[in-house]
Symmetry: C2
Subunit: 140 residues, 2 copies
């Protein structure tokens, strides 16, 4: 039987079998051909599309954004403007997340440092420091 089985597709793309079926249910990929017995058989176009989805997921796009990108790909009316916008939104989002994580990191370091040096003779300050939001230097 020609075509990739779902397992073969999974191995090639790194997307789990159950996840591929989940994507199909979500309409991100179409139901491919089936064997007489009802098993899915995929072509190279499916492989390409699934790679696209997998890569976009790795880049942090959510499934709705990916569906939008796919739609753009298929109906490329003003596609590049929209694709540009979606990708740019992601970049802004990622930069914001980085900023917030850095603030978090700084505060946690401060919390842990509050304990260092005098844990031997006194109760640990980490728990108290965690309870004490007032002491935070930045908001979060």
């Amino acid at each position: 039987m020609q075509g990739h089985s779902i397992g073969a597709l999974s191995r090639r793309t790194g997307v789990k079998v159950t996840t591929i079926r989940f994507y199909e249910g979500r309409g991100l990929i179409a139901d491919p051909g089936r064997t007489v017995g009802g098993q899915r058989r995929y072509g190279d176009a499916d492989l390409h599309r699934l790679s696209f989805i997998a890569h976009a997921r790795q880049l942090g796009f959510d499934l709705d954004a990916i569906a939008e990108l796919i739609a753009l790909h298929e109906t490329p009316f003003d596609a590049h403007g929209d694709a540009h916008r979606i990708a740019s939104e992601r970049i802004a989002e990622i930069r914001e997340r980085i900023t917030r994580l850095r603030r978090l990191e700084a505060e946690l370091v401060r919390v842990v440092a509050a304990c260092d040096g005098h844990c031997d003779d006194r109760p640990c300050q980490v728990l108290e420091a965690l309870a004490d939001h007032e002491a935070c230097h930045g908001e979060h």
Copy 2:
């Protein structure tokens, strides 16, 4: 009736009413006293504990980790060692997430840049670049 209502607690801590009840169901806070009519009435200890939970959540601890920290607080046998460990694990986790996000950002910038300058006469490269994992500079 003395004590804070759930709404008052919510206002003071910034934790939503439904979320407070959810935390109670999860065992993070105990069922406080009730009025004759069955409404919750909280004391200052509950307020303090909820502030602790809220703050820890803002710092990215998951509910299991918070439950662990609370247990340490109540049975402080070797508490500071464990609290230290949990907080340090969080720091490492956050640093890893920052690293990954920076790689993501760099790649998205590259993808968008692939389009800039020649979107007017050619189909947009963003979609193709997204599909093309081989072109990635770092792994993710």
